[in-house]
């Protein structure tokens, strides 16, 4: 199946194919996703003549190329967790229960700095807020869950990668699969890769010489992701730059505040700076 170019793996940002956003018209509650009138612009209808297994396989194959981007992050997560002093159980438990690469790397980074629990939790959750957007956007394109178990499974597999791959598929004119199965299939390679290579990174950390610390790789990942977010922004990049500059500068200035409150203050000010700076720049889309 021609999936078109594989979407770039980006651990943090929503990928809205063809400029779609979650502010689109919401299909009426209970409307069938087979009803052409309920489809969003450009969206391909669900295929009932294709079975779930074929759709799951197609999603799995479409999501597999993103492993190239996931494996290095998972290895670094595992090795950094070990270097921080986390046990194998703690490291694996985090991967299984949180299953969000950027939040886990932030967790490890802040844990190493002995940041207070409330600040650590709030920072990790702040970066995971994007999952709300993914969920809102994805829910418009899937049948409502049939029960709590299905709702839990489909939400657990919601990641940057499964969102990007599924959306890319749903808007591909040649798409001919069941959407839910395709979406679940697209999330499986990420899950398998993240769990297995996170574990491998932890075990490999034992053989890394002490003269080659891996801890610096975590802020380097953050740096690479930040550049990627700013560079790939579909709108004016300046508000994002201002947001980053304000947050970074304030985080340095307020580093000494008790309870690491400077970090939270810097994040809030950075968000507000980005938000308000939007009004100073005429909206324009980057080609």
């Amino acid at each position: 199946m021609d999936q078109g170019p594989a979407p770039q793996s980006n651990l943090l940002m929503p990928q809205e194919p063809h400029g779609q956003s979650n502010q689109e018209a919401v299909p009426a509650a209970g409307s069938s996703r087979q009803d052409p009138a309920s489809l969003l612009p450009g969206e391909q209808p669900d295929r009932r003549d294709i079975d779930n297994i074929a759709s799951l396989k197609a999603g799995f194959l479409a999501g597999s190329p993103l492993l190239i981007g996931i494996i290095p992050f998972a290895l670094i997560y595992g090795a950094a967790a070990r270097e921080t002093g986390l046990t194998l159980i703690q490291t694996v438990s985090m991967s299984l229960s949180v299953f969000a690469g950027s939040a886990q790397l932030i967790f490890v980074n802040l844990w190493a700095q002995q940041v207070t629990v409330p600040v650590l939790v709030l920072t990790c959750l702040a970066v995971n807020l994007r999952l709300l957007i993914y969920g809102a956007s994805m829910s418009l394109r899937l049948e409502p869950p049939k029960g709590p178990a299905e709702a839990l499974v489909r939400s657990y597999l919601l990641t940057d990668e499964s969102f990007a791959v599924s959306m890319s598929g749903f808007y591909n004119p040649g798409f001919g699969y069941r959407r839910l199965a395709y979406y679940l299939g697209s999330g499986l390679p990420t899950w398998l890769g993240w769990q297995s290579f996170g574990l491998a990174g932890y075990l490999a950390g034992a053989v890394l010489p002490e003269s080659r610390p891996i801890g610096v790789a975590v802020p380097l990942i953050f740096l690479a992701l930040l550049i990627s977010i700013i560079r790939t922004s579909s709108t004016d990049r300046r508000p994002r730059l201002i947001s980053a500059a304000a947050a970074g500068l304030l985080a340095v200035l307020l580093k000494g505040l008790p309870l690491n409150l400077g970090l939270m203050a810097a994040i809030i000010v950075g968000i507000l700076a980005g938000l308000f700076s939007e009004s100073f720049f005429r909206p324009r889309r980057i080609q």
Binding site: I76, L132, G135
Partner: protein, 97 residues
């Protein structure tokens, strides 16, 4: 120490799953208000910058880390590959420490 680890992990895990479930597990999907969505767009940028800048800029900077950051920035801009940026930064850091 261990108790606080599990407490933090439990809260992050529950919060993350709640974010995923909020819309994806419901029958009705309200659209997010525009200002909220726009604010959410800036969260990753602000969080990453607030986390990483103090790692490289401080009163007593680790110059090897600063050089690694510069190498990573250059590699990211030239190659446009996150992974190569990290590798470049890590190599420079290991060479300098």
């Amino acid at each position: 120490m261990s108790h606080s680890y599990w407490t933090a992990l439990l809260l992050v895990a529950l919060g993350s799953q709640l974010f995923r479930l909020t819309f994806l597990g419901r029958r009705l999907t309200p659209a997010l208000p525009g200002p909220v969505r726009r604010a959410l767009d800036h969260v990753p940028t602000a969080v990453l910058a607030a986390l990483l800048v103090p790692e490289f800029i401080s009163a007593n900077p680790d110059w090897a880390a600063v050089a690694a950051a510069v190498a990573a920035i250059v590699a990211a801009l030239v190659t446009r590959k996150d992974f190569l940026a990290i590798v470049a930064g890590l190599i420079v850091y290991w060479l300098l420490i």
